[in-house]
């Protein structure tokens, strides 16, 4: 027990240090550099180095505080949720390593440090998803997550190299300064960054790893796969936005990706029968919303929504963990009627669902409103994105708002209401279904408070605000009415339930291709490439056999050869002389 709280202590120290460093920056308008890298002697970029250059501005400080805050809460939560686990030490230490990596990604201005943090986050995610490595599902999910994100990360590696070659520095600020003088290679850089973002933030078409990562421990899902790491993709897109802001190609591609992903994620979230997986799809959808904000040229709105989403999605996942601990499963069919037994979880998750649905006065409403407003502003077509694209994006976003409200309500209803319909294997709620312990409920309360507190001081845009509220309320009401009429809320068309078969290339085709190719290579290595050594061998053997023929062990043959030789020598001698 004491050792478990020791890890909480380590995390707390980390959080306090970051807070001391970041909190004063929250209100500041100016940008603070710690140090700045310099260009190489020959005008080209210097060889890569991991300089401790740091850059803080208010958005950065917020995300840093979000990361360490959620991290601390997750550590506290884990002491109760996972305290019995024999491998608690590695679990807790990897979380600390993850937080350090996240701080590096968010705080640095050196692209290589960013990359190191970025990949270490991916590694931690891999290790934590696979924490229950006895289970094949966890192993598969971890491997898939790592593979997909790492392959996408090659985009970031190349983007960094291109940035270095283009602007002669691996420093973000330096590159931005150079870009403001003469922008170059915007499309290339932007597309490469987009690849990395799509992978890390689980956007279409690389989105399938995130739902499959759900076998990981639920606190980890809350921290890494909802609040921080997946959001880091959007953060990166926002951070490097200036470098590709001029490229309409990149912005359009980003908008298209965002539009497809947000609607798709929301629809998939609707049809899920598993609470955790539904929340995962919801994360995908919300990340797409943030990316849409970046695409329409308002990365600030994107990071704001990132912040709010980080809080309420962490809240939802942690609440989901409480529910899972109580009923022993994350399947919606085993839940229902939990609101009396688990009042704290119920009320805090209600706040979370409200934020997800975008209802006033939660932070989710305000930040989503900002995003919608940004999209709406982009429809005049002078912000880099074509007006038509922006209109489509706006419509999709509004439809998504409706679907989001609907599925949030559906999950809320199915989890907490219905007085035990389908509750437990025996039809009634078991006696062991009770409220989560304090270490788990406490963080929920903190996050729920934060869900409301973050809305303080947020801007309000009346037009889009009203519109989105109406749409969200319509979504909520439609579901409530259907539920009241006795619907099981199980409307799930087959293509949606199968998630449009988008996972098939990853789970089957690419795997089969790789396995087949590797077999072919091994065969070729053995049968074809090895031909020349074997050919050399048989050539030597043939020659030696040929020469061996002369060694017939027959005196007469030797004598014959000798005689022929003598005669030939004589003939040659005569002819020459």
């Amino acid at each position: 027990m004491i050792r478990r709280w020791g890890y909480v202590g380590i995390t707390a120290v980390l959080a306090v240090v970051v807070a001391i460093w970041a909190v004063p920056e929250l209100g500041r308008d100016t940008v603070t550099f710690v140090t700045i890298g310099q260009t190489g002697p020959d005008g080209g970029p210097p060889l890569p180095s991991l300089s401790p250059d740091l850059l803080i501005y208010p958005g950065t400080a917020q995300i840093l505080l979000l990361a360490v805050g959620v991290g601390l809460l997750v550590q506290i939560y884990s002491t109760a949720y996972l305290g019995h686990h024999p491998r608690y030490r590695s679990y807790a230490l990897v979380i600390v390593l993850f937080l350090i990596a996240m701080i590096a990604v968010v705080g640095t201005t050196n692209l290589w440090v960013l990359l190191v943090g970025w990949e270490v986050m991916g590694l931690c995610s891999y290790l934590l998803i696979g924490h229950e490595w006895e289970s094949p599902v966890a192993r598969a999910g971890a491997a898939k997550a790592f593979l997909v994100t790492r392959i996408a990360d090659l985009g970031l590696v190349m983007a960094i190299i291109v940035i270095g070659e283009t602007y002669g520095t691996y420093d973000i600020v330096g590159a931005q300064v150079a870009q403001s003088e003469q922008p170059r290679h915007a499309t290339l850089i932007g597309l490469l960054v987009l690849v990395a973002v799509v992978g890390k933030s689980a956007q279409f078409p690389l989105h399938t790893w995130l739902p499959d990562a759900m076998p990981g421990p639920t606190p980890i899902t809350a921290l890494i796969h909802a609040a921080t790491m997946v959001a880091a993709g959007v953060y990166l897109a926002a951070r490097l936005f200036q470098l590709y802001a001029d490229s309409q190609v990149v912005l359009t591609a980003m908008a298209v990706v965002a539009a497809i992903t947000m609607l798709m994620g929301a629809l998939f979230a609707w049809v899920q029968t598993d609470l955790k997986r539904a929340l995962a799809w919801s994360t995908v959808s919300q990340l797409a919303l943030m990316l849409a904000a970046v695409a329409v040229g308002d990365p600030e709105a994107g990071t704001d929504h990132l912040l709010a989403h980080g809080v309420f999605k962490a809240l939802l996942f942690l609440g989901c963990g409480c529910v899972m601990l109580a009923v022993g499963s994350s399947a919606l069919s085993s839940m229902g009627g939990l609101r009396r037994r688990m009042p704290v979880t119920f009320w805090t998750m209600t706040a979370g669902f409200a934020a997800l649905a975008g209802l006033v006065p939660t932070a989710g409403f305000f930040t989503k409103d900002s995003v919608l407003h940004a999209i709406e502003r982009a429809t005049d077509g002078d912000r880099g994105l074509a007006a038509g694209t922006a209109w489509v994006l706006l419509v999709v976003a509004l439809v998504t708002t409706f679907v989001t409200a609907a599925y949030a309500t559906r999950l809320w209803v199915l989890t907490f209401f219905g007085a035990g319909h389908g509750a437990g294997p025996h039809g009634t709620l078991g006696q062991d279904v009770r409220e989560a312990p304090l270490a788990m409920a406490g963080p929920l309360v903190v996050l729920a408070v934060a869900t409301f507190a973050l809305s303080v001081g947020q801007p309000l845009h009346l037009g889009t605000g009203l519109l989105s509220t109406v749409i969200a309320v319509a979504g909520v009401a439609a579901v409530l009415v259907a539920a009241r009429r006795g619907s099981t809320l199980a409307w799930a068309p087959r293509p949606l339930a199968a998630e449009l078969w988008l996972d098939r290339p990853f789970s089957r085709w690419i795997l089969a291709l790789g396995t087949g190719a590797s077999r072919v290579v091994v065969e070729l290595d053995r049968e074809v490439v090895d031909v020349y050594p074997r050919g050399g061998e048989s050539l030597a053997a043939t020659i030696s056999r040929g020469l061996g023929l002369a060694q017939s062990r027959n005196v007469q043959r030797y004598a014959t050869v000798l005689a022929v030789g003598v005669v030939m020598l004589v003939v040659i001698g005569v002819v020459v002389s």
Binding site: N554, V555, Q556, A559, T560
Partner: protein, 98 residues
């Protein structure tokens, strides 16, 4: 008498002896071939001695030596053939090697 007659006979005997050495399967007859070639040489030596007629009679003396050596050679050779025959029960040079 023309010097050519013994020389040409010598050439012919040498060629026939060579053929015998290279072609006969029987080891004893191979040795006979060798004797024929030696005889051809002897013929040459004597012919040149008769033609040159030096005081030391080099050709004839060498012929004598050759004959003696040939006798020694055939004696040793046949002894070897006999030993070989006792070892492998054949004097067929094609089979001895196998």
């Amino acid at each position: 008498m023309s010097l050519l007659y013994p020389l040409l006979l010598s050439s012919a005997l040498f060629g026939i002896g060579l053929y015998g050495v290279l072609a006969r399967r029987n080891a004893v007859l191979m040795l006979l071939g060798v004797e024929l070639m030696l005889n051809a040489v002897n013929l040459n030596l004597v012919a040149f001695d008769a033609w040159f007629a030096d005081r030391m009679h080099t050709g004839q003396v060498l012929t004598l030596f050759t004959i003696a050596l040939a006798a020694a050679e055939i004696g040793l050779g046949l002894a070897i053939v006999l030993a070989l025959f006792r070892a492998v029960r054949t004097v067929d040079v094609d089979e001895v090697g196998r």
